[in-house]
Symmetry: D3
Subunit: 153 residues, 6 copies
């Protein structure tokens, strides 16, 4: 038996869908589900040859869209480590883009909320997902990649 809605999706899967679906019509279902669950979320894009721009773009989006409180070091620390995890994940152990001639074109999502089915006092978590292409800075000479980071907040 299958589900026809995104209602069964836990927080991480929702963030993956958000980053991956882009303009596909299924994304509306995902956004409706995020809203229904009271999650805070945002999507953005960043193309870069160095990590610093990717980290900054995601961190800035988290602050500007009120996913985190930009005055709280705790929340910045939480999202920062989730971003680093996502980038290490997309780089598969080698956190370097421009250094080794790779450029990335990424769509990222940030989702904050409770884990589905979690214990009462489990509090909030933050998921960061990045999806896009990695490769030489030349059309057709790149391939897809996905990265994911997760932290308590």
């Amino acid at each position: 038996m299958t589900n026809s809605k995104a209602a069964s999706f836990p927080i991480g899967k929702l963030s993956i869908m958000l980053a991956v679906l882009q303009d596909h019509e299924w994304r509306k279902d995902v956004e409706d589900e995020l809203t229904a669950k009271g999650f805070r979320f945002t999507i953005g894009r960043v193309g870069a040859m160095d990590i610093i721009k990717v980290v900054t773009a995601i961190e800035t989006a988290a602050k500007n869209n009120k996913i985190i409180d930009s005055e709280s070091y705790r929340e910045i620390h939480a999202v920062y480590h989730a971003i680093i995890e996502a980038i290490q994940s997309i780089g598969r152990g080698v956190v370097q883009f421009g250094d080794i001639l790779r450029t990335v074109g990424l769509t990222f999502s940030i989702v904050r909320g409770k884990m589905d089915g979690a214990l009462e006092h489990s509090g909030e978590w933050i998921a960061v997902c990045v999806y896009g292409t990695i490769g030489a800075p030349k059309k057709g000479f790149e391939h897809e990649a996905i990265g994911f980071g997760f932290n308590h907040i």
Copy 2:
């Protein structure tokens, strides 16, 4: 404007969807698209506390389901590196499960085919995606993670 089918999905995205959607009804669309494109694909599950079981499970599934030719070292070399990339990606730089008390419960997908919109002579590629939970071997003390590897074959 949005698409209502998975037709616009490139090979990596199809493998991600396949691993993530599980029993959701959208998966049928994804499988239809994979079939329409003439891609070879399979899905499997593996729960383990050590990497060797995860690597073996994915490699065996690739052979048994004829995604790769089990007599060709080239193809085994290609899928092996894609699996290692996916595992490094899920472990975010640290390829260790049992060693540091983490257990994984993963759904994996393997997809083989051409890249969408690729140049005529670009040949075939293989994508491996693993999605599931990573954490302590105790219900509710784990969180989601996703890993992805990609290679020419």
Copy 3:
């Protein structure tokens, strides 16, 4: 000008002192300061050739001494990542003991509390420090090492 008490020590430095001083009389000052600040803390020892024992020993000490709530996945997630950071730090990039013939004899400290001089809403943090020897399992064929991990909780 110098201080004669540990009053000026921030949380991380207190955890470092706690792990390093062992039976030295200065440790009393450090413990007095920890108590005065209302911090929760504990010390333990572990000798092992594999990481799993070190992680388990520290995690168990954190739970048994009520540094963290053993029913909260958030708190376990926080201390777990601090422990992994401390171990990666002591292994200097290579998280492997028994695998490469190294054995460790470690004193560890766990401290939980607010950061000194932190903003009002900065909440609690957890510091894990491990200090001891790493080397061949043979007296005199080992040298000192220190590791430190830090996380919001």
Copy 4:
């Protein structure tokens, strides 16, 4: 029973104390002990967003303060690897500061001498300890970290 002096401290612990204590009055005891044992040592500070400045600052301090012979490649090789270990240790597996938006403000110590209780022919060793803060280049948005490297010389 406890000790009231730093006399029982081995070389690594002395270097840790030297980097951590800074202006605390206990530091005099540590320096007295280092002098009594005939160890060569120095302390310095460095604030930077890139590794190259940290490595250079520590290497230069080692040369200028005659901890090592700046004309001996052997000694430079020994201190260089101890510095890299200390930096890998503070970065916990990720040797990158500026690349991922982290800035460091570090006090470092370098100590050279024999290991306490070592065998007659065990020769000299070099310990490098760095202690300070790592984080965003913004007051209060950083936390403590410690790194340690050790090598024969």
Copy 5:
């Protein structure tokens, strides 16, 4: 019993010899053997403080000397990963030169062909070997290193 020719050398060993022998007379034997086997190969030199120049130099040499087809992303992907493996291998886990004050002076070889004694359908492989010195940018303050990468193509 010993061989007097390079006839028994497999593809990887030939690439190692090619990079290491430089102007030694044995190199002629190695080149004769490469030619006899119908392998494509080239040699080059690169001195640099940053990885990007090393990667570019090797990739460009592979294209310009027709070791790979510069219009095929598959072949570029294959040689790129072999180059990264060789560089990770020479850096022994730390892919950074300029970042940590190291400069390299390298001779590199690229060899493409079938594996000796391989199964009929095992196709072509590419080996990249880099040999040279790594160290401070100062004569006599550096030492030798070798790196090797291998991939199916």
Copy 6:
């Protein structure tokens, strides 16, 4: 112009040749050169699925063949780090064999002596080279690899 003897080979190149040439007649030239220079050296073989056996085999060979003094922790520390470098180099960043299903069949060389053309007071160095195959434990499903470590002693 070319050389017809191994006389121009520095210590690292001699160790590489020693590990790679095996039963080839050129090896006699290499051994003659090592002897002429007064270097201590040995060769050995090890086949294993776990690192611990490889490290032990090389360390034991270094002790048994008097390349190092087995009672000196300094010398053991030096050779140990050279071995780890060689293994990280062969594993290209991932120090794991059995963990990820790879088995190795290696010939290793250990050479100890002065660097050619080095400054008068540059002392002795140790080079460890490992060459062989890495892959699945199945004939023809493996490929060549080389690793190299170097340290002052």
